[in-house]
Symmetry: C2
Subunit: 231 residues, 2 copies
């Protein structure tokens, strides 16, 4: 983890379009002065379930996983987020502590703003408040939708779903390098590591995908989509 020296760069940052477009020049300047830019390396924790919520964060680059840890120490992954997702919006208005933990899956740069500054802005700028409301609601809806979609599928359907999710949502390509271990895939879609591996092998034998370590290439997308839908 490194704090980068990049004061006052918000006004020219391309990401400010995503959520901060409704702020006035003055408000954006205030954010810009209060923000810190932080680099997290693969595997580092942005924050932990139970930590006090002290900052609003968003991803500038990289990839993170959002997860809960059960009593028995097992992780349950809730979501995988890329830049443009506002992961840290969850619970900041309903809770004092985070309900989830976030870990960097690859080298990730995050901008953070003091939560009180952020909340103040939500209170004073109506349009901004609306935008936040909308983003937050969308994110929650997505999480619930995918969780429900996955819970009724069989294992083959879940693997197909997750392979297509990476291709479409994360990488926008049918060939990509998995950012997560087999174990993490298992944690994301509620199954065991062994079965993740088994089914990936089956898919390879059936010529649906090519696998080489973490490299995945989708060979028969139609079939995968069918399995994802019906499976």
């Amino acid at each position: 983890m490194d704090i980068l020296e990049t004061k006052n760069t918000c006004p020219t940052c391309i990401y400010n379009q995503l959520l901060f477009s409704s702020l006035t020049k003055e408000e954006l300047a205030l954010i810009s002065l209060n923000k810190r830019e932080i680099l997290f390396n693969k595997g580092e924790i942005l924050f932990r379930e139970g930590d006090d919520i002290s900052e609003f964060m968003y991803l500038k680059s990289g990839l993170v996983k959002l997860f809960k840890t059960s009593d028995t120490g097992k992780q349950q992954i809730i979501n995988i987020s890329r830049p443009g997702d506002f992961v840290s919006l969850l619970s900041i208005f309903s809770e004092k502590q985070y309900l989830y933990s976030i870990m960097a899956l690859e080298r990730t740069v995050v901008c953070t703003v003091d939560i009180d500054v952020f909340k103040k802005m939500v209170e004073t700028n109506r349009q901004f408040s609306n935008d936040v409301l909308k983003k937050m609601s969308t994110l929650y809806d997505e999480i619930i939708e995918t969780k429900f979609a996955i819970s009724k599928k069989h294992l083959r359907g879940r693997i197909a779903h997750i392979l297509l999710m990476f291709a479409h949502q994360i990488y926008g390509s049918d060939e990509y390098e998995l950012p997560v271990s087999r174990k993490e895939i298992a944690e994301l879609i509620d199954m065991t590591t062994e079965n993740v591996i088994r089914i990936l092998s089956e898919f390879r034998k059936d010529k649906l995908i090519d696998i080489e370590g973490k490299k995945i290439a989708i060979r028969n997308k139609e079939m995968l989509q069918t399995i994802s839908k019906l499976g």
Copy 2:
């Protein structure tokens, strides 16, 4: 379904404390003039997944279930809500159509306010906007929490969980009449009707509960809690 004749009663309604406490007299009067009070009988649908979102609704009395219907026609119940829950907050800021359906589980009275009037108020009243943000976020968090809690439990743990949920969250008593069928319990916690019945019977044989049709009496709460936690 019946539209009740109760114009302009909001200012004296005890429920306005729950969400509308931050409105000015004028704003509350506006809500009061625009609201309609509707009675739904058991089994009637408040709105369906895919319907245009045209009203904000809240429960004055009764009980409802929130659910999705899958491609194959099966229901998946997402939540059971009692008065004080603001079920219809979900998605109203992120979507044009409802993502979920709502059905009355018992005789239920609902107040509805035109969605544009409601949204206008969110835009103009900062404190109100904050309150809405908070309520909505809490509701989403609850749904995600329980869904994740249940998905990792075995069947006995899920049944124990749901029996305790009714006792604590819904009825505040260890003896109650189930507002849902065995089939609906199954839909709520991802299992089959047969297994719901089987496990309820087991619990009865093990003297954890008494059952008489839909009447449930919890006899060994500690054991149920243990099963819910570990199961």
